[in-house]
Symmetry: C2
Subunit: 350 residues, 2 copies
């Protein structure tokens, strides 16, 4: 039996349509996969019928009466809505009826539901979100991109360990290069958190290449970027906003004279290839790491292709047992810094 994935079919900005359609694309592409659509049974039934998948045995419906909306406070929402689609999806996971969860909904609520239902892996202080970014070569994984806004050195250290395991296992990268996001490459550069984290990473068995700057993220020379969730989320949003603004500015200019308009038409294949190369939809989703289970967050704006890719990412993470790999690595203490180092970094020994 292949991986079984639960999809929060009510989350996301555009309702169930792209989610259900993405699930169908995923099972059509991978025969061994099955997807549980979690949400309003009636709506989902109609949606499945609409796309001609009403009888598909690989797509089942798990009813959930409520939805956590995008703007809601995660903790409040989960307390009030015990039967929300995101909670029900993770309860399915906890009960062993699925192997992973994909959500395009409220990411704070997704993380909170995952922690509540699955729990942390032994030794993990703070689970986090590892966000993939396109670069000139292969993807770079930034962790954390929003789950933990106020961090300590040990949290950042573990982000580095977990994202490194994920990169190695899922992207097949031998000894991923780990960089610490700072504002200068020298050891003493950065804020207090970064300076203390540097010492932990330096003493680890990770392939730690030192501080990196924001501009290095997209170079393809780094595989894992370590940062706190505030900085990581700002980077993610800045990147999206800038790419969009640049696209609009270039579009403005290209439409301003006839020669440019014709030129654009002639280059349209190149623009299509470029779009595919930088489109978040191609990268699927961002894995939650540090949990006793598999959760994937995808963009609220996800189209069916992005949802399909996120389900693939979840299936890949399950198939390659990323969780087991992180668990055994932490249990063996192989990459963990010693307790005296943690104390030193936290109290600021050097």
């Amino acid at each position: 039996m292949g991986p079984r994935i639960a999809l929060d079919a009510m989350g996301g900005d555009s309702g169930p349509a792209p989610l259900v359609s993405g699930a169908l694309q995923a099972v059509n592409d991978n025969d061994h996969l099955s997807v549980s659509l979690v949400g309003d049974a009636e709506q989902l039934c109609l949606e499945l019928a609409r796309i001609g998948a009403g009888d598909d045995p690989r797509l089942t419906i798990v009813p959930a009466a409520e939805v956590v909306e995008m703007g809601e406070k995660p903790m409040d929402a989960l307390r009030r809505k015990r039967d929300s689609s995101i909670m029900v999806a993770f309860k399915e996971h906890k009960a062993g009826r699925v192997d992973g969860v994909v959500s395009a909904g409220n990411s704070g609520a997704t993380m909170a539901a995952a922690i509540r239902c699955l729990g942390r892996l032994p030794g993990v202080v703070r689970p986090g979100i590892a966000g993939p970014f396109p670069t000139l070569r292969g993807p770079v994984l930034m962790m954390d991109v929003g789950a933990n806004v106020d961090c300590r050195p040990r949290h950042l250290f573990q982000f580095g360990v977990m994202a490194s395991v994920y990169h190695e296992v899922c992207f097949g990268t031998a000894s991923p290069r780990v960089g610490l996001l700072s504002i200068g490459e020298e050891r003493g550069k950065g804020n207090t958190l970064v300076r203390r984290t540097h010492d932990l990473l330096q003493a680890s068995d990770l392939n730690y290449i030192g501080n990196i700057e924001g501009g290095d993220i997209f170079s393809g020379d780094i595989d894992v970027v370590v940062c706190d969730g505030f900085v990581g989320n700002v980077c993610l949003k800045v990147s999206e906003g800038l790419a969009e603004a640049l696209g609009r500015m270039l579009g403005d200019e290209l439409s301003r004279d006839l020669s440019s308009r014709l030129g654009y038409f002639m280059s349209r294949k190149a623009f299509a290839r470029f779009k595919k190369r930088v489109d978040y939809a191609e990268y699927g989703g961002a894995p939650l790491l540090g949990l006793k289970g598999c959760g994937i967050i995808c963009h609220g704006k996800s189209n069916s292709r992005a949802v399909k890719n996120a389900i693939d990412v979840a299936a890949d993470m399950v198939g390659k047992d990323v969780v087991g790999r992180i668990r055994s690595l932490l249990a063996a203490g192989g990459l963990a810094p010693g307790p005296e180092m943690i104390t030193e970094a936290v109290v600021g020994g050097k």
Copy 2:
């Protein structure tokens, strides 16, 4: 007599050539302007002669024997190199022989020399660097972009006040819209620093529009973005790195087939306009705010056009008396939060 600007003619990645040439462009463009070139007198003399400006009375040389290199630690370097070009430039300013300083060199050393020679304005806790970013409409000013990596709420509050004054005076914006960089628009979102700063900004007379996200920076709907220097510097570098990576990826794709290559050739005017629109060289430099004087930092990679624009920015800041405006505003206490609010925000009252 027009503004007199000192240029650290030894800073920057490419030596004196683009700096001296930028100075000549600036005085040629503005008859009232004069520029003191600070650095190795022999080199600068030769460079002036080379571009046929050896006898230009508007360009004078102020000798300085040493240079702070890009990789040096600012404090160490200033201590060891008392006759460095950046220190001499700010000493000229302190002595009243020039009205402002422009530097493309080590930005940490520039800030440190500025604080040492000019001093802080009364009431300013931390001077900072206000970085201009291109947007879909007009420039947005982000403060701080690198001078202060560990901040408290009152620091961020003053960044908002000072950058708002600068935007109003230099860009002619009535009541600039100030946003606090966070990871969600709701009041409770963000890290501890941001949540506490929010209360200070909310209670001020600034045109504070609340938390903004990274993606909003480039929308043109904000004039001033408030953040600490670590986050601001990361944003700056991420933006530069991403713009470069996207440009290279698009270039790759455009050169891959004949039709696209032809199309690119036909659209070359559009690409040129686009480049000009997003080129940092067009934006001149980033003002240091909070000092008893005028300092402008420009990119280490600045070409002569960027240097010329940075000198213009300095002249504009001097001509419009930004420093006097910030000084009188702070003295009047008009935009400052009361002491009880500061205490509350710092100890985390709510």
